[in-house]
Amino acid sequence: MSLDPEYLKNERSQEWRAALRSKIKNKERTAIQRVHMPEQAPEIRVKYQDREVNLGITAEQAALEASRCMDCVTPTCIEGCPVNINIPKFIKQIEDGDVLGAAATLKETNALPAVCGRVCPQEKQCESRCFYLEKMNLPSVSIGHLERYAADFERASGTSNIPKTAKPNGIKVATVGSGPAALSFAGDMVKNGYDVTVFEALHEIGGVLKYGIPEFRLPNSIVDFELDNLKKMGVKFETNFIVGRTASFDDLRKEGFQAFFLGSGAGLPRFMDIPGENFNGILSSNEYLTRVNLMGANSETSDTPVILGKRVAVIGGGNTAMDSVRTALRLGADRAMIIYRRSEAEMPARIEEVKHAKEEGVEFMNLCNPLEYFADEKGMVNRMRLNRMGLGEPDASGRRRPVPIDGSEFELDVDLVIVAVGVSPNPLVPSCLPDLKVSKWGTIVVEEDKMQSSIEEMFAGGDIVRGGATVILAMGDGRKAAENMHIYLQNKIANTTKVN
């Protein structure tokens, strides 16, 4: 809807938008400096696992930042957004002082604005397509900070606007998983009048938003607030339910479910398959982060244990590695080290996360690769052997290939190692569906423009299709799947009516 040029043109030509545009000259707009996100000081924030690093911008900052946006005729930023938020509209609403209106605009296409305002890599998406950056070589409008501002404002106001939903059509659909892909799907389907049930294997809803992303980046209370909005819209949630196991797909069909969205995520953590990797004190980032984020293992009152390492090595250079290493610091590590086989330039983590990690005192041992682990008599890891790497020609990923440097081996004392080198798709769901087409990597094969799998009433999206991506790409998949499942189900109904 929000990519339709006619629709965008009509929205833009509304009186209030035209009035705002003529209020300030573009020259004056472009002269304004991009806002800086206020941050908790590093020496304070490393003491708290559950305190946000980014504090959010003030009302004055938001209004000023919003006035930088020139409300372009062709808003390319929207094309950069996987869920196609009507970006100029919500920003102009902030400039106009209608922050609740801005929040409502966000929710037209985004089920989780407060989440996306915090964890989206905007610099690679909407902001990378901003007129400021593309045409003027100036810092882009801070779309992400403004999104967070509007969502937070609404939450604090206590007057949460619940998006309108169509008249219930009585058609039952289900999601497998409750992460960002499934939630985005559920939000759109419930708006279209469907009876949506979200099935989650864990005891909490939210998927990676709860078990993966730490509270210093995304507080659980914010996820819960957004979930509450979905509940108010009519989405039903069932925890402790493994579709295919607790009940089969056939059981659910008998209960009336007509179509499914498979969003079970990237389950299995990868390891490097090097000697000693199964010693105690060597764990996947999934395990470490789940213990802390989902189970609260760092709190006195939790029954779940976590190893409090003093010399912690985190293997990998992605966002999950940054989340793990910064968690280790907050849990009292003296040395928290990133061990990454390429250089900082190739790191997949967001620049902001790397910056925050450095400010907090994380040591970056780039161009280093683990070879072997050693343990004490109880099997607890105490030392590792690594070698240094150089960079060769670009590989399939387009990044320069790391090559070991002869004779560069060295050893490092460690008492906790967290392996964050990626994940493989969870086989649980595909193993229950013999007719489901999967790739050689185990990801579900879909028709890309529809997100429809080889079983026609099953759509899929997020990491189970992509193999490991971002929250917002998963949400984009969820929206696309909802749109196409809606068309599919409506066609099916139309056809059956004809036959009858």
């Binding site: 294997a201 864990l202 005891h203 078990y211 925890t239 402790n240 339910f241 493994i242 196991r245 607790t246 009940a247 089969s248 389950g267 299995l268 953590p269 390891f271 398959d273 990797e277 199964n278 010693f279 105690n280 004190g281 764990l283 996947s284 999934n286 395990e287 789940t290 213990r291 189970m295 609260g296 709190s299 009152t301 939790s302 029954d303 779940t304 244990p305 976590v306 190893i307 109880k378 099997g379 969870n426 086989p427 649980l428």
Partner: protein, 273 residues
């Protein structure tokens, strides 16, 4: 949901619970396990399903008090509910007509062995069961095992019941006497290690059901890593049963102690209260 409808003490430390959960009762198969969590701040831990009644919609769990979480489960009374219960998880046991099955259970391992014995018997196999424990009061579910076995040998370490000796002595006796087509062993890791060594001598295909540390139980965390045939496998999704002759039991024993120091602290705090 998850309400406890029956509770029975096998001994001070070993308790049988019948729990309402119609969906799991219907869908579980022999060899499956569940993940439980007691209380909002509880820990997630696995337990193999000992029995199920799809008509009544209940499953049976047998828990031995070894730490905080098992103690919290054992402290629940009839009418209480388990906060979180999810399953069935893991690959079910490969049940078919194989001939003669040697089913071996040590301690509370007899509980998860029971549905497997039943399933093998129902599939037409001859089933010889060897159940073992340190002493008489720790032998559990003997009558139930007898119901589905052609013969049962009971072994106790101290000779207070059945025959005196380790489970491997009972196993040897059966193996010497008749042809065994397949063996299944469930019990403490150390017992399974020696049971596997025993059947390896005679090249009897043997499965062991592992009780690794788990968090989610669905393949996500990798805490349950085990080396089988030189390869790292996940107990939760690849198991819990593996070729016992290929399992690296020494590594498994080491990994079971992965959180020992944290557990000692937690136990001291909990049991002193």
């Amino acid at each position: 949901m998850n309400k406890i409808v029956e509770k029975e003490y096998f001994s001070d430390k070993v308790i049988r619970l019948v729990v309402e959960n119609p969906k799991i009762a219907r869908s579980r198969k022999a060899g499956n396990f569940v993940i439980l969590k007691i209380g909002e701040k509880g820990e997630r831990f696995p337990l193999t399903i000992a029995d199920a009644d799809p008509v009544k919609g209940t499953i049976t769990l047998v828990v031995q008090i070894v730490g905080v979480s098992s103690a919290k489960l054992a402290a629940l009374e009839v009418g209480d509910s388990i906060t979180d219960l999810v399953g069935p998880l893991g690959k079910p046991t490969d049940i078919e007509l194989k001939g003669t099955i040697l089913a071996c259970g040590g301690g509370v391992g007899v509980a998860p062995l029971l549905p497997i014995v039943e399933a093998f018997k129902k599939a037409g196999n001859r089933v010889v069961s060897v159940i073992a424990a340190r002493s008489k009061d720790l032998i559990i579910l003997e009558d139930e095992i007898r119901r589905w076995s052609d013969e049962v040998i009971v072994m106790t370490d101290d000779g207070s019941y059945g025959r005196q000796g380790l489970i491997t002595a009972g196993m040897e006796e059966v193996i010497q006497r008749e042809k065994i087509d397949e063996c299944i062993v469930i019990g403490p890791a150390i017992m399974m290690k020696f049971a596997a060594l025993t059947t390896k001598k005679y090249s009897i295909p043997t499965q062991a059901s592992l009780n690794s540390i788990m968090v989610d139980g669905t393949g996500m965390c990798g805490a349950c890593r085990v080396t089988v045939g030189g390869k790292t496998r996940f107990t939760c999704v690849d198991g819990p049963e593996f070729d016992a002759h290929e399992i690296n039991f020494d590594e498994m024993l080491m990994r079971l102690g992965g959180y020992r120091s944290e557990e000692v602290v937690a136990n001291n705090k909990y049991f002193q209260k």
